[in-house]
């Protein structure tokens, strides 16, 4: 399946845009998403940490993804 991944902050710089499309096996989880992204964008491995949000919630590692999900990469936050 193809999922669309939103990017913010440093992740936007790394992806070179505010979203990227990623090919994943059907029913991939967030760990597989991270692996695929890090393969395409090795600089992702250099940031302090990052989380995956699915449908506006922080996602656990074993959460299964679907093409209808709103998926986002959340680098270390720094608001306030």
């Amino acid at each position: 399946m193809e999922v669309n991944v939103l990017a913010f902050g440093i992740a936007k710089d790394i992806f070179g845009g505010s979203s990227v499309s990623v090919s994943l096996p059907d029913d991939a989880n967030t760990v597989q998403l991270k692996q695929a992204l890090e393969e395409h964008f090795p600089r992702l491995k250099l940031i302090a940490s990052y989380l995956v949000a699915v449908n506006n919630e922080y996602a656990d590692e074993d959460l299964l993804l679907s093409t209808r999900d709103e998926i986002a990469i959340i680098p270390p936050v720094s608001g306030g």
Binding site: F8, L46, I47, A53, N56, P76, V77, S78, G79, G80
Partner: protein, 139 residues
């Protein structure tokens, strides 16, 4: 639970915020105001830029305020956060909390800013004379 949470693109106003949390059954209001500092780790800062994952940021801010109401007997709570470009001295965030007694107001306000900085998807870029950097992005 009277709550006002907003992500705003223009200047934040302290008076508006404290007036909103004022309540005839509250005796104390605590307010935290973040301001853009002219230096970070000894290096002069020119300006900041804040980017938010808007809907998720609003959701996370609501979760924090809900937790605060569960932990302390609050009357009202307000959270305003800026996006966009901010100059030195401008206000990225205002948190205002009212309660019958001051202990709850102080503790809840502190909890809200501390948790916001850990969980709310908002990112700050610092601009220096010689470049720019996403805060906390790298180890």
């Amino acid at each position: 639970m009277e709550v006002l949470i907003e992500l705003l693109d223009g200047p934040l106003n302290v008076q508006t915020c404290t007036q909103w949390v004022t309540s005839p059954d509250a005796g104390g209001i605590n307010v935290f105001i973040g301001t853009v500092r002219n230096v970070t780790k000894g290096k002069p800062v020119i300006k900041l830029e804040f980017e938010a994952y808007k809907q998720m940021a609003i959701n996370e801010m609501h979760k924090i305020i809900k937790q605060a109401f569960e932990r302390w007997p609050l009357k009202k709570a307000l959270l305003h956060h800026r996006t966009g470009t901010l100059e030195i001295g401008e206000i990225p965030v205002i948190i205002a909390v009212s309660a019958a007694h001051r202990d709850a107001a102080f503790e809840a306000c502190r909890f809200i800013i501390d948790t916001l900085k850990q969980t709310v998807p908002i990112w700050k870029k610092e601009f220096f004379e010689d470049g720019e950097v996403w805060v906390a992005a790298h180890p």
